[in-house]
Amino acid sequence: MTEPVLVLAGLQKTFGALKVTDGVSLSVAPGELHALIGPNGAGKTTLVHQISGMLRPDTGSISFRGRDITALPPEKRARAGLARTFQITSTIPSLSVLENVALGVQARAAHPLALFRNAAHDESLNGPARAAIEAVGLADRAHVLAGSLSHGEKRALEIAMALTLEPAAILLDEPLAGVGREEGERLIALLRSLKGRYAMLLVEHDMEAVFALADTVSVLVYGRVIASGNPATVRADPAVREAYLGEEG
């Protein structure tokens, strides 16, 4: 068996008296799509923030590609190949789609902050950016400002930005939230096309999508993983049915 890309070991995080992350351990293998589900307030986004470095866990460790990254700031994790998208879409509204994606390419280029080299017409940035834009199906929107994209297009743009990091793992925080049916189907197809190439941790409410896409499903309730395994097993788990799936009716 191959080494997992991402390993969480005993993560704990409390806000005041509230344990939002309560001893979470899980791992994601290369190419695996690991879905994380759970009712609202289960602490899913808080967990993603800890993995991406925007929050620091109280105890526990995060290792990525065999290296302990628990104390690294977000930008170093990103440079190490850990990409993420946000529950509330996060792009640079006044830059075009191409520029947004090229910013990601730039981060991994030899001189990411060159002071005097023009960025807008730099083929070494725009080339890979175009490829990522094609891959997520935004080619005809390349010169539109990110701020004027539709919601689903912004989601796709975020994924394109994640791809330019040449990531070993991508954290996807509810990529389908607030997206209409048609755009949702397009995004699911996009995620399916990426499956196998990147390790992905997918936080999602859309059960249909989760069970269609995931290799492994973990269920988070009140900051604690109550079940983890292949989709069929998790679906059949009585504790999960009671705590979570039952509510879905």
Binding site: S90, A102, N118
Partner: protein, 327 residues
């Protein structure tokens, strides 16, 4: 899909030419001609001063407009540049090639230290801290009793350049300042369009996104702050030579407020806007102060009304009239 195929599907970004800036510089270059044809020479002095402030406003626009950092202490850099120049001239050193490195280094040092502290905060706290650091330099200059203290320091010589005296004659000085202004505009334009500039612009709108993309946002902002301070120091060097005088008032906090107003007046983030804003500011000041010694009673409300009723500054106004495009 390969990137070659993608390239076929996605056209290259369009290139834009800085039309307004070119017209502006051409008009400025023609002013001495107009003076020789009978326009009062007062205009030459006034526009020289306006262009010196335009350099400072341009540098502020790099952090305020492009980087989104509202620095309320920018006059400190102008003052440091002016004082370094004034002190060196007083001590008998007039060579520009020696003064300028000192000016630029001092401003870079001050920018690096105060920037590192100020950038630990955001928003309103950043405004207050930059204001306080600016005030610190102001009081420091007041305490410099060997160099005039509160009264300021009169200069009896101007800087020289390898034996030449580029600041001696009024028209010559004018063209030197215009040249420096164009060079600064070019430099800042290049920086804004660079990889660094793109990351800086992006961080203004969404610092979190820039961080998770792999950039150290504070580092980017600090470098911009330092560069901006060095250019402002350059304008201080010119200002000291132009007024033959330096005083703590150069860096009093209303001066920083005025620089912010110049940038906003022209249109935040627009580089030629900063130049237009500075010129419009000094012309207005000149006209109003000719009317009454209490001109600030008119000017203050003008600022208030401007903020309340316009968006996008003078450049926004030009754009509404169909001149120039938004980029």
């Amino acid at each position: 899909m390969s990137s070659a195929d993608a390239a076929a599907a996605i056209p290259a970004p369009t290139r834009r030419r800085p039309v307004i800036a070119i017209i502006l510089f051409a008009l400025l270059a023609l002013l001495p001609v107009a003076v020789s044809l009978g326009l009062p020479p007062h205009w030459l002095t006034l526009l020289t001063r306006a262009m010196i402030f335009a350099i400072a406003a341009l540098s502020l626009d790099l952090i305020l407009g492009v980087g989104g950092l509202v620095s309320f202490g920018h006059a400190a850099f102008v003052g440091i540049g002016a004082y370094a120049t004034g002190i060196m001239i007083t001590e008998g050193q007039t060579e520009t090639l020696l003064i300028l490195p000192v000016v630029v280094l001092l401003c870079a040092l001050f920018g690096a230290v105060t920037g590192a502290v100020s950038l630990r905060t955001r928003g309103v706290t950043f405004i207050m801290i930059t204001l306080a650091f600016g005030q610190m330099v102001y009081f420091l200059a007041q305490a410099l009793s060997a160099y005039g203290g509160d009264d300021g320091l009169t200069l009896y010589e101007r800087s020289t350049l390898l034996g030449f005296e580029p600041f001696k004659n009024r028209t010559g000085f004018y063209y030197v300042v215009l040249g420096v202004l164009i060079a600064c505009y070019g430099l800042i334009s290049v920086i804004v369009a660079s990889r660094f500039g793109r990351a800086l612009r992006a961080a203004r709108e969404n610092a979190t996104r820039v961080a998770v993309t792999g950039f150290r946002v504070k580092g980017i902002q600090l470098l911009a702050y330092v560069i901006s301070g060095m250019i402002a120091g350059l304008s201080g060097f010119l200002l000291a030579n132009h007024t033959d005088f330096v005083s703590p008032a150069f860096m009093s906090w209303p001066r920083s407020g005025e620089l912010i107003f110049m940038v906003v007046l022209g249109g935040v983030g627009s580089l030629h806007g900063a130049i237009i804003g500075a010129i419009a500011f000094l012309l207005t000041e000149d006209v109003l102060s000719g009317l009454t010694e209490h001109w600030k009673v008119i000017f203050g409300p003008m600022i208030v009304l401007f903020v309340l009723f316009t968006h996008g500054g003078l450049v926004g106004l030009l754009r509404k009239l169909g001149l120039g495009r938004h980029d």
